[in-house]
Every structure is written in C-alpha cells, then in structure tokens.
C-alpha cells in the first residue's frame, strides 16, 4: 500500500492541543507487552526529542517573528507528543532496564536501517556502529544481573541475542576519526536522508539518557559504566550527524524532519501489535501530516522551491522492528576488528587511535571490562543470551570459569 503524506490532510493545528486527562496515558505492561512495542516507544521518543531540539535551534537562528511563532506553536504540540509517547514506559522498569531496551532499539533499528540502506558508504557507517551498540547491550546485561538480580532475557525476550560485540574498550577513538563524509543532498536517495535522521535521533536520545541517569546509581561500577558508554554515545552522535549534508537549508531540514516523523508514525502504525498503542501512532501521524504541510508552505515561501523536489513520491517500506540475528552474526564474523581513520575505515590500530586509547584508559581496565570480570567472579561466568550457537569470533567464545 503506498502512502504519500503530501496528499493527506491531518488535524488542523488549532485542534491539536490536548488537556491533562488526554496526556495522562496508561503505560504498557512491563512484563506482558511485546518487547518491540517498547522499542517503538523508545525510538519514537528519540524522534520527538530531536524534533523539539531541532525546532529550538531553528528558532534561535531565525530572524522572522512570524516564523518563530509558528515554530513555537508546532513545537508545543511536539512536546505534547513526546509526553504522550515517553510516558507509555512503565514506572516499574528501572533506568537500567530501560537502558537495556534502549540498546535493543539501537541494535535492531540500526541493523534494519543498514540492511535497507542503498548507499554503500552510509551502509558501512550503520554496520560499523551497530556492532558497538551490540556490545553495549552485553555489558549492561551483565550489570543488570549483578545489581538487579534479573536476567536481560526477561527484557529482550529472545528476539535479540546478548553476546559480545566489538569490545567497548576499543570504541574510544580520537574525536577527529568520528567525523564521516556527508551524503550529497542533491544526489542522495530520499530514504538515505530519512535513515540518517532516524539513527542520529535515536543515538542522541541514548546519549542524553545515559548522561542523566548514570549518576542516579549508587553502585560504583554502574556509575562508571554509564560514564564510559555515555562517552561512546557522544562518538556515535558525531558519527551519524556528520552523515547529513550541512548544505541543506533550514527550510529543507525542517521539511525532512517532519517528513521523517510522518514516515516513522506511519511505519509503526503499520507494524504495531498492540491496538491501543497503534491508535496513538495513528493520532500522531494525523498531527504530523499537518506539521509537514506547514513546513512545506514555509519552504515554498522562503526557499522558493517545491518540497516535492527533495522528498520521495511516497513513503518507503515501513521501518520494522524484527530480529536481525543472522545479519548481526555475519557482521560479527567480518567487521569485528574495524576502526576509523579520518572519514574512512581501517583494520589496523593506527597511531592516533593508540594515543587516544592510552589517554582514556590510563593503563587500567575500563568499566566495560570490569563489569564483565566482576560478573564472572560472582557468578562463575559472564551473562550471555545466545540462541544461534557459538560466537562467530573464536576469541569471544565463552571461556571456562576461573573462579577464585
């Protein structure tokens, strides 16, 4: 079924305001909900947060009072959308439990985008990043069993494997090596622009989340692990945001943002298993169609261009949360030892990488190693959820326990 958001009318802006009762959404059930419903909630929260932050940046760079007022009005509705979406998460779940769900999002969303991305350079960027999110999931899962005495399989429910990826200790690269080349806004496929925005938004939300919840923990290893992985998220945001062409005008960026929100709400509406949540995606899609129409009018007026020139003629196939186990195992088998140099990728640890490694680790094991060591010491082995056989990389297969 094709859907062109430019051809549909949404809810008029002056009828979008919701009252407190309408905003007071019932959270999903933490133990019976589809894990991918929780993933869609987390992903969409990241999209709305990006919409809000982008709109604020735009307003700060915009001299027109009329445009600022329109941005403010749309942004207020986006703030309400963010509340309605993120408040679907249940209070029973701890920050660490949400963290594991965030990493499940990072793994299965980035893997899906990598599989669908037509541009080989962009595809490589996603394949590179996903092996790191995959390892973060494993590190946090080991922390989860230690501090909360529960296994991450209760959260990911066998849909995503929890085994070592590219070891987190090697994620700490020199900041210059995190900057990629951007796509060309005139040549890139519309889907490539949407992919870049989506993954940038998801990683940005993850970075902000870890920056803020890390210090709420009392356990020293938890505090330290959030610091470490939070800094890798800074690298990921740098990596993905640099894929977006900075030559896009503010109007064009606004249109791309609103179009992407339509794309994701439509995707989630099409793939949602929970009817109650599906109704929320549908309502928000109807709101976004109007935000998109307003953004398109601004582009025509201020940019002198038709939005159709930069947008796809119809929405691409829906962004789908589904297991990516075989794909991830193939990446584990082939891209484990990759790192970055300048805007490209190399197999050797180069001098700038080594210097960064020495500086940040200070000759000691990083928290991401210590959390697994501590788990081994206490439980006799590390925590893994391996459903598809032994690890593709012989170096990372389970080692016999070394109890002291």
């Amino acid at each position: 079924m094709t859907f062109n958001p430019l051809e549909h009318r949404g809810i008029p802006l002056d009828r979008q305001l919701r009252n407190w009762r309408e905003l007071d959404v019932e959270p999903i059930d933490p133990d019976h909900a589809d894990p991918y419903t929780r993933c869609r909630i987390i992903a969409m929260n990241g999209i709305e947060v990006e919409a809000i932050l982008f709109s604020h940046q735009f307003a700060r760079n915009c001299p027109s009072m009329d445009v600022k007022r329109q941005l403010a009005e749309v942004r207020y509705m986006e703030q309400q959308q963010q509340r309605a979406v993120n408040w679907l998460l249940p209070g029973v779940s701890s920050a660490l439990e949400n963290t594991i769900a965030y990493e499940q999002v990072a793994v299965d969303l980035t893997a899906w985008v990598a599989r669908m991305e037509p541009d080989p350079y962009l595809k490589q960027a996603y394949e590179f990043g996903v092996l790191e999110d995959f390892d973060h999931l494993y590190r946090y899962a080991n922390l989860y069993e230690m501090v909360q005495h529960r296994k991450a399989e209760k959260i990911v429910d066998g849909l995503t494997e929890v085994i070592p990826g590219r070891p987190t200790r090697y994620h700490h690269r020199h900041p210059h090596d995190n900057v990629r080349e951007p796509y060309d806004r005139n040549a890139a496929a519309p889907i490539s622009k949407l992919h870049a925005l989506t993954i940038m938004a998801a990683e940005q939300q993850t970075m902000n989340y870890y920056m803020n919840v890390g210090p709420e923990y009392m356990e020293p290893i938890a505090r330290q692990l959030y610091q470490e992985i939070g800094l890798v998220e800074e690298e990921h945001v740098t990596h993905y945001e640099s894929l977006v062409d900075p030559g896009e005008t503010w109007w064009e960026r606004l249109v791309n943002h609103e179009y992407n929100e339509c794309y994701l709400y439509h995707s989630f509406m099409e793939t949602e298993s929970d009817p109650r949540i599906k109704a929320i995606w549908e309502l928000h899609l109807d709101m976004e169609l109007e935000h998109l129409r307003l953004a398109c009018d601004l582009m025509r007026e201020h940019d002198g261009r038709e939005p159709e020139q930069v947008l796809a003629p119809e929405l691409p196939p829906p962004v789908t949360f589904e297991p990516n186990k075989a794909y991830l195992r193939e990446l584990l088998d082939t891209q484990m030892d990759l790192t970055t140099l300048g805007a490209g990728y190399v197999w050797e640890a180069h001098e700038r990488f080594e210097r960064m490694q020495e500086g940040i680790h200070g000759g000691e094991a990083p928290p991401s190693d210590r959390v697994v060591d501590a788990h081994r010491e206490r439980f006799g082995s590390d925590y893994r959820l391996s459903t598809e056989g032994e690890h593709p990389d012989p170096r990372l297969r389970e080692q016999p326990s070394q109890e002291r």
Binding site: D31, H32, V92, H149, R150, M218, F379
Partner: protein, 191 residues
C-alpha cells in the same frame, strides 16, 4: 538455573531483597499467564515468597530504616500500610476461583500495588541503608533471612513431596505466621 535460585548469589540483605522483588515480579507475570494446575502451583509459590519477603522486611529491614534514615518513622509507616493492604488482598484472592475473571482483576490490582511498594522500598529505604550500616551487618541479616526461608520453604524441592503438599494447602495467613515464627526463632522452628 531456575529463577528461584538466583538470590542464592546475593551477598547482603539489600541485594537479597532486591533479587526477591524481581522474583515476585516474574512470579506475578507467571501466574497471570498460567492456567489450571500450573496457575494454582505458581500462585502458591507467590504466596510463600511474599510471606517470606514481607516478613523479612517487617522484622529486619524496617527497624533499621526507622532508626537509620531521616523521616524513617513515616517512611516505614507508609510501607507497613501498603503491606497490610497487600496481605488483605491476598486473603481475598485465596477465596476466589483461580480461573475466574474476578481473580484476574484482583490479581492485576495486587500486582500493581506490590510492584509500586517494591519500587518505593528501593527508592526510599534500601538506597539509604547501605550508606548507613556497615557491610558485615547487612550480610549477617541476609543470612538470618535465608535461614528463615529454609525453615519455611518458599518453593518445593524436587523429591520433597511433603513440601509440595504443604505449599499448596497452606492458607495465606498461616503461611505468614509460620514464616514469622521461623524468622523470630532464628530458623530453629518449623521445617
């Protein structure tokens, strides 16, 4: 390794009780999805675990919190109120047909309030206790709770038919009493 075995790794009383919160949460989910005999058996395990857990908190943790944390008296009063309500709800559940909609609805309500209660304990009591009491003390208390648990087992051990029988026929209040006696006797009674 079954979920029931996990708290064995716990080292101090706070870790032990946090682990039990997770077991309680998972057991609620299990009862909700189970049917027939499996549901009856899972519900019996839940009752026993709640008995051990709430009693341990009342006998061991709340007294520490009362004395040791700012506003402890009031915090503990709130928790005791929630625990009394939960116990009453359990007694009501016991009188219902396990396959009925009435049971489903009451169980869902109890689950919400027990999980909320557990969250408050972790946020307002447990996180303060570790800063306030030394590790040795917290570990000794864990041993005390574990001993009481052994005296009034919370789950059947394979081959122990008597335990299974006790588990499935014990009325809720009797289970709580038995656990309390065991805990006060330092594990010397019951069994």
């Amino acid at each position: 390794m079954s979920v029931e075995d996990r708290p064995e790794h716990a080292e101090d009383v706070i870790e032990l009780l946090v682990g039990q919160h997770m077991l309680i949460r998972d057991l609620f989910a299990e009862v909700q999805t189970a049917t027939g005999e499996h549901r009856a058996e899972a519900f019996a395990r839940l009752v026993h675990l709640l008995a051990v857990h709430e009693t341990a908190e009342e006998e061991v943790v709340h007294p520490l919190a009362r004395r040791g944390i700012d506003g402890g008296e009031q915090v503990v009063e709130d928790r005791l109120h929630e625990e009394r309500e939960a116990k009453e709800a359990l007694v009501r559940l016991e009188g219902m047909d396990l396959g009925s909609e009435e049971f489903d609805a009451a169980l869902a309500l109890l689950r919400d309030s027990v999980l909320q209660h557990a969250h408050y304990e972790e946020a307002y009591e447990f996180r303060h206790l570790r800063g306030r009491y030394d590790q040795d003390r917290l570990e000794t208390l864990a041993a005390q709770v574990r001993m009481a648990e052994k005296a009034a087992p919370t789950h059947p051990h394979p081959g122990n038919e008597t335990a299974v029988k006790n588990l499935t026929v014990g009325p809720v209040l009797a289970v709580f009493d038995r656990v309390r006696d065991a805990m006060r006797g330092g594990g010397s009674q019951g069994g």
